[in-house]
Subunit: 317 residues, 2 copies
């Protein structure tokens, strides 16, 4: 079975580090990710440059990344204006976050739920105006869905109602996002099933998980059990909300891919390739700590050979 | 459902740090662990003090720990001589490691498989001589069972044969130990089921997992799926084979308990209590890095309240 690993480092990672990665380094990073076999990259966010100067070159990066045939070029858009720019740049996938905690939504986007849904509907209308073969995939992402640092746990009814409203407003898909690192394996299973029950399995394919409390990969295992087939991750765990040394933000792409492959899932990604692209990040952001275990510990002895043998067995079966 | 968390920090942790924790600090740590609700502690190893001077006070620590009613006081024994001392000190549980990789066994214990099995049989004979109510639980631990840094993957047939021989030599239980940090969720499930199929479910209850490649807690989830009910862990991830900053050795007790409780399993352990006992370790070993995420990130907002509510629901159900 195939699992899609969506690299969000160039967006979620870079937006949360102080330094700005030079545009040339971003391009080299994306090249290396593609060379490693990564099939989807969230390359930036269409927000005003004064808010997130690290991502001011997002339009240029989208255009550059589109040069890689077969790569899905994703971008975050907070509103209609961002979506307009993303469409103009030619992004293949737009993700618009909706915080299920209204307090968090107001604090972060200064918008109520109604106002965000209005933006979603506006973006969907823009997309519908495009010729069918040029329409990007449009995901509404339920942020703080596993709990909020301001409001704590959000009632299921509110989550389900917002998921439905996102789909009715024109999203193709609803993602679940553990913005605060509150997710636990039990809650991942429960909530994925709950939201799938409300808007349909096909509309809930992706999870965005953090590793704040060390449960990131355990949550992936739970997500897979619940039918999830797309996981966001970030090289070196860059981004998210790191609290302290050792506490990475996003789940680490290298570790995630190692685990998925060890479980027999196909990702199409080479771990050696990921370690090479990780070095580009390390060189471009020398002051940023990079997290993850596989990069330090290496692969188990005989692991690649064993995988190759298992592939051969499959082919001969 | 109840899951037993066995704290191995005072043995596996302390044996792998350079500094020697003062006996008084060990006692204070054990007191704090018991106060937190920990029910089983591996308090030391009966090896010659010149080999592991950090654990030279193991007999005194076993005697002290026995003062805590209800606590299972466990100790590692490499051979008959160690077991003799452990029995004299009154340990409730003995664990004797058998590396399924013979190269590792020779390098570590300077013993072939046959020689280790002979020791196991000798220890079992000593135990049988005791009055029934004074016999400790005797576990044979299959080390490097998920792969060896010297030999790579070990053939299943060899693992199963050694598991059978351990049981036939008189062990009450066979544990699986990821000495090298090679375990992956798929392999955990597969191997637990395989060994259980060979020696019976009741004889395979425990896993000793490392977090070398970040998969520790994901492996726990897989272990639970396969029926495992006892997990070793170490406060702050102390011990094991750390490779680099961020790469803890043993799985971290605090994070494990958080995850288990979040999944609805009963551990009887208070996380606040664990954080308090962790501070004793930090004070006694100021130069040792302590790993884990929950200690840094804290518990999610509303988490304790939610747990309490869920307990009340259960009671009222």
């Amino acid at each position: 079975m195939e699992i899609l690993v969506s690299e969000v480092g160039p967006r979620d990672g870079l937006q949360n580090v102080k330094a700005t990665m030079p545009t040339a380094a971003k391009k080299a990073w994306i090249d290396a990710l593609v060379a490693a076999g990564v099939k989807e990259i969230e390359v930036g966010s269409f927000v005003p440059p004064k808010l997130i100067p690290q991502l001011a070159d997002t339009a240029e990066i989208v255009d550059y990344a589109r040069g890689h045939a077969g790569l899905t070029v994703a971008a975050l858009v907070p509103n209609r204006r961002g979506a307009e720019n993303a469409l103009r740049a030619g992004a293949h996938k737009l993700t618009l976050p909706l915080s299920v905690s209204e307090a968090h939504s107001l604090a972060n986007l200064r918008k109520t739920h109604d106002q965000v849904i209005e933006e979603v509907a506006g973006v969907a209308a823009m997309i519908r105006e495009l010729p069918e073969d040029q329409r990007p995939h449009f995901e509404g992402s339920l942020s703080t869905v596993f709990g909020c640092t301001l409001e704590g746990m959000i009632p299921d009814a509110q989550i389900l109602s917002l998921a439905t409203r996102l789909m009715e407003a024109g999203c193709d898909e609803v993602g679940l996002s553990d913005t605060t690192g509150y997710a636990t394996p039990g809650e991942v299973k429960r909530l994925v099933k709950l939201v799938r029950g409300e808007v349909g399995d096909a509309a809930v394919q992706g999870l965005h998980l953090h590793n704040t409390r060390g449960l990131g990969l355990a949550n992936v295992v739970a997500g897979i059990d619940a039918g999830i087939t797309t996981f966001d991750a970030s090289q070196g765990g860059l981004g998210g909300c790191p609290f302290a040394p050792g506490a990475s933000g996003n789940i680490v792409t290298e570790d995630l891919v190692f685990m998925l492959q060890s479980m027999g899932f196909e990702t199409g990604i080479s771990i050696d390739g990921l370690l090479a692209s990780r070095r580009i990040v390390a060189d471009a952001l020398p002051d940023e700590p990079l997290y993850g275990f596989v990069a330090d510990a290496g692969l188990p002895k005989g692991w690649e050979a064993e995988r190759a043998a298992s592939e051969t067995q499959k082919e001969n079966a």
